[in-house]
C-alpha cells in the first residue's frame, strides 16, 4: 500500500507542473495586463515601466515562470500583485472557507443523493422513482446562480430566516460552530449541494436497481435474509462506485463555485479566483489553481486508497 501511495504521489508532480504551465500560458494569452490591477487606467508609460520592473514583469515569460516555480517548490507562492498580501495566506484562508462550505454541501448532497437514489432503486418504476429521478434531473440542470438568488429571496427576504450573504457576523476569521454562524452556511451549502445530490441520486438509483436484479440478491432472499440484511449487501456492493463518484463531486466542490460564492459573497476559493481573474493577478491565480489542483489529486488518491478497503477485489486487481 505504501508503494502504491508513493507512486500516486509521484504521478501528482507532473500533473501539478502541467497545470501551472497551462494556467500561466492561458493568463498571458488572455488580453489585458496584470498591471491593470494596480495602475490607474491613465497611468503614464513611465509608471507602467517602473511597476513592471518592480514586479519582475519586464522579464521574459519563461523566466518569470521559472522564478515563480523555484519559489513555489519552497512553499513560497509570492505576493499578490493587487493586494500585496502573501498568496499562501490568501489561498489557505480561502481554502478553509471553501472547505467549510464544500463539506456542508457534500454532506447534504451525498446523504440526500444516497437516500433518494436508494429509494428510487428499490421502488423502480413507481412514482417514488419518478419523483426522485425528476428531482435529480432538476438538481443537475438548474443554474446555480439562479437557484441561489431564488433561495435568498425566499428564505432571506420573504422569510427572514437566514442571512443573505457573508461568512458569519464577524467575518470568516471569527467562525464558531454555533447556530448563529451555521445560519450563514445554510443557503450557500444548499445551493451548492444540488448538483452532487442529482448526480449521486442517479448513480445510486442505477446501481441499486441493477444490483437488486442480480442472482446473489435472489440467493440471499431465498436463504431467508431480512430486507435490512439484503440492503446491507446491496449497499456494500454499490459503495465503491458511489465513493468514486462522490469523490469527484467533492473535488469539484472544493474548487469552489465562482457563481455561488459570488452570489453569497462567501470568501472562498471561487470568490478569490474570480477576483484574481478579473484583476489578472497572476501570482494569486497561479497559487490558487495550484493548491486546488493538489486538492483534487489528494482527494482522488484518498478515494483510490479507500476503494480497496471497501471492496478487496479492487486491491487484488
Amino acid at each position: 500500500m505504501f508503494a502504491y501511495i508513493l507512486k500516486r504521489l509521484i504521478y501528482a508532480i507532473p500533473i501539478a507542473l502541467s497545470v501551472t504551465v497551462v494556467s500561466f500560458v492561458l493568463v498571458y494569452l488572455a488580453p489585458g495586463d496584470p498591471l491593470n490591477a494596480i495602475a490607474p487606467a491613465d497611468a503614464p508609460e513611465e509608471v507602467i515601466q517602473a511597476l513592471k520592473s518592480a514586479y519582475g514583469l519586464d522579464k521574459p515569460v519563461p523566466v518569470q515562470y521559472g522564478l515563480w516555480l523555484m519559489r513555489a517548490v519552497q512553499g513560497d507562492l509570492g505576493l499578490s500583485i493587487a493586494s500585496g498580501r502573501e498568496v499562501t495566506a490568501e489561498v489557505l484562508s480561502a481554502v478553509s472557507n471553501t472547505l467549510l462550505l464544500a463539506g456542508m454541501a457534500a454532506a447534504i448532497g451525498v446523504v440526500l443523493g444516497c437516500i433518494l437514489g436508494a429509494l428510487a432503486g428499490y421502488r423502480h418504476g413507481t412514482w417514488i422513482d419518478k419523483a426522485a429521478t425528476a428531482l435529480s434531473v432538476v438538481g443537475v440542470s438548474i443554474p446555480h446562480y439562479w437557484l441561489g438568488l431564488v433561495l435568498t429571496i425566499l428564505f432571506s427576504i420573504w422569510l427572514p430566516w437566514f442571512p443573505a450573504m457573508g461568512a458569519g457576523p464577524g467575518g470568516s476569521g471569527e467562525w464558531l460552530w454555533d447556530l448563529e454562524h451555521l445560519r450563514y452556511l445554510v443557503l450557500p451549502a444548499l445551493t451548492l449541494s444540488v448538483i452532487p445530490m442529482g448526480i449521486i441520486t442517479r448513480t445510486v438509483r442505477a446501481l441499486v436497481a441493477d444490483m437488486l436484479g442480480q442472482e446473489f440478491v435472489t440467493a440471499l432472499r431465498a436463504r431467508g435474509l431480512s430486507g435490512g440484511a439484503v440492503f446491507r449487501h446491496v449497499a456494500k456492493n454499490t459503495a465503491p462506485t458511489v465513493l468514486a463518484v462522490a469523490g469527484l463531486q467533492i473535488g469539484y466542490l472544493m474548487g469552489g463555485s465562482i457563481l455561488v460564492e459570488t452570489v453569497f459573497a462567501w470568501p472562498g476559493t471561487g470568490f478569490l479566483l474570480n477576483t484574481a481573474i478579473f484583476q489578472r493577478d497572476i501570482p494569486l491565480l497561479q497559487g490558487t489553481i495550484l493548491v486546488l489542483c493538489m486538492f483534487f489529486v489528494v482527494l482522488n488518491l484518498l478515494v483510490d486508497i479507500l476503494q480497496p478497503l471497501i471492496d478487496p477485489r479492487m486491491g487484488r486487481s
Binding site: 489585458g32 495586463d33 514586479y55 500585496g84 498580501r85 427576504i157 450573504m165 457573508g166 459570488t262
Partner: protein, 536 residues
Amino acid sequence: MKPRNFKLRHWLAALPLSFALHAGLHAETVARYGISMADIPLTTGQPDRGAGAYQFTGHTLYDPLIAWEANVGNRPGKLVPGLATEWKADPKDNKKWRFTLRKGVKFHDGSEFTADAVIWNLDKVLAEKSPQFDAKQSAQVRPRIPSIASYRKVGPYEVEITTKEVDALFPYQLPWFLVSSPAQWEKLGKDWNKVASQPSGTGPFKLDKLVPRERADLVKNAAYWDKSRLPKTDRIVLLPIPDAMTRANALLNGQVDIIETPPPDVLPQLKAGGFKLVQNVTPHVWPYHFSTYPGSPWTDIRVRKAANLAIDRDAVVKLMSGLATPAKGQVDATSPWFGKPNFKIGYDLAAARALMAQAGYGPSKPLKAKVIIAQGGTGQMLSLPMNEFVQQSLAEIGIEVTFEVVELENLYRHWRAGAKADINAGKGITAINLGYVTADPFYAITRFTDSHYVAPNGVNWGGYNNPKVDAALEKIRTTFDSKTQDGLLAFVHQSMVDDAQMLWVVHDVNPHALSPKVKEFIQAQHWFQDLTTIRM
C-alpha cells in the same frame, strides 16, 4: 454629623462609577456599508481601485494637504484647507508653491504631523530610491500629481513644492495625495504590508479591524482635528459585495444599512420597502469619444453633431430606471465650467437627418463606423443595453455602428494607445466608449482637449486639436484667480460642445440605497464622499 459626612463621602466616591456606568450605557452606533468592490481598497495611504475608493480607505483614515469639500450636497464642492491651512504660488516664480501646515495635528499612533512627514510622504510615492518608496502607492498617485518637479522643507510647518511648468490648477491635484505616518511605518519594521493592517493617518476614522475581501471596521477618531467633520457614527463597517443583486438582498434582509449602486431592477422593491434612494449630480460622463484622424467617419463635424442629436437621452435614463441624467456636454449643465455652448445637445431626429444629408449620407448611403466598447465594468453603467440603444438610435439617421466588444481591462489598453495606434486604426475602430470621471479641470477637460496630450502622451484619444482651446488652456495654467479660471474652463468646455468632440449620452448619479435606520447621509456632487456625514 459623623454619619452624614460618611454618606456624602460615599456619594462623592460613587460619582466616577456612575459616570462610567452612564458611558457604558451609551450604545455604539454602527453603520454597515455594502460596497461594490471585491476587496477592501489599499489601506496604507493611497487607495487602489480608482476614485471611488478614496471615500472608503482614503479620506476616512488620512487627510490630504488640500481637501475637497465633500460634506455638502446641494452645490458642487470646492477646495478647502486640509493638512495645509494656506497655500499660494510665489509671485516671483509661479512654479513654486508654499504650503503652511496645520499645527497640533497628530497621527493615530500619537506621532506629530510636521513638514518632515509631508516630505517623507512625497518621497514615498515619488523618490524611487527612498527606503519608504512603495511602488503600489506610487502607481496610484503619481498619475494624479503629474505637475510636481521637486519639493523641500522650508520650516517645521512649511513646505515648498515646485511644479514642472507654471500650473495654476496644481491645487486640484492635491486632494489625491494622502499623508500616512512615518512613525508607524518605522514601528512596523518598515513593512508596508504590515502597515496595511495597522495603518495610521490623521483622518476622522481609525482602522479597527481588517479582514481581506470581507470587512474593514472604521471607528471614530474622537481626537480628530476638524471638529466640524467628527464622524456622526461610532463605527462604519465596510463589506465588499461585488454582485449588485447580493448587495440589494443584503440591504433588504437588514444585513447592511447602506449600499452603493443598487441594481435598477430592484428599485421599485426598495422604494416599496421604505428604503431611501439617494443620488446626486456626479462628475462622470458616458460618451463615445470620436477619432478625428483622417479616414475616420467622424472627421465631419456635421456627422458628429447629427449623432449627438439622434439620441433620446430621456429614454436612456428610463432604461436605467432613473439612475442617470441626460448629458448636454462633458460636465453637467450646473457646473461652473459648462459655459454657454451654441450647439444645444438634445433629441431632434429631423435636424440630425438634415445634417447627415448635408454631409452626403442617408438611408441609401449609410455611414459605417466601428466602436470599441466594454462588456461591462466599473463606470461603464449598463454597457451592452445602453450601447445597443445608441446603435439603434444612430441607425435611424443612417449611421451603421458595429461593435468590437472587449473586456474593460483590454479597453483601457486601446484607450491608452490612442485612435491612431495600429490596435485601433488598424482594426477600423474610430470611436471608443468609456465612462469618464470629470471631477476636476484636468480630469474633466484638460486631458481630453490639450493637443499636447494627444495619445500616447496622454488620453486625448481622438487627436482633438483646437488652437483656440490650446491658447485658453495655456492661459488657465497661468491664471491664479479662480473665477477667471472657471471662465476660461467654461470657454474650453463650450468649444468641446460646439465642436461635438464626443457623443455625450448620460451622466452617472452615483446612486445609494439606505435603510430607514440611516437618518442622514450627505451625498456630495463628487466621487469623494464624506462618510463622517452618516448618522444612524
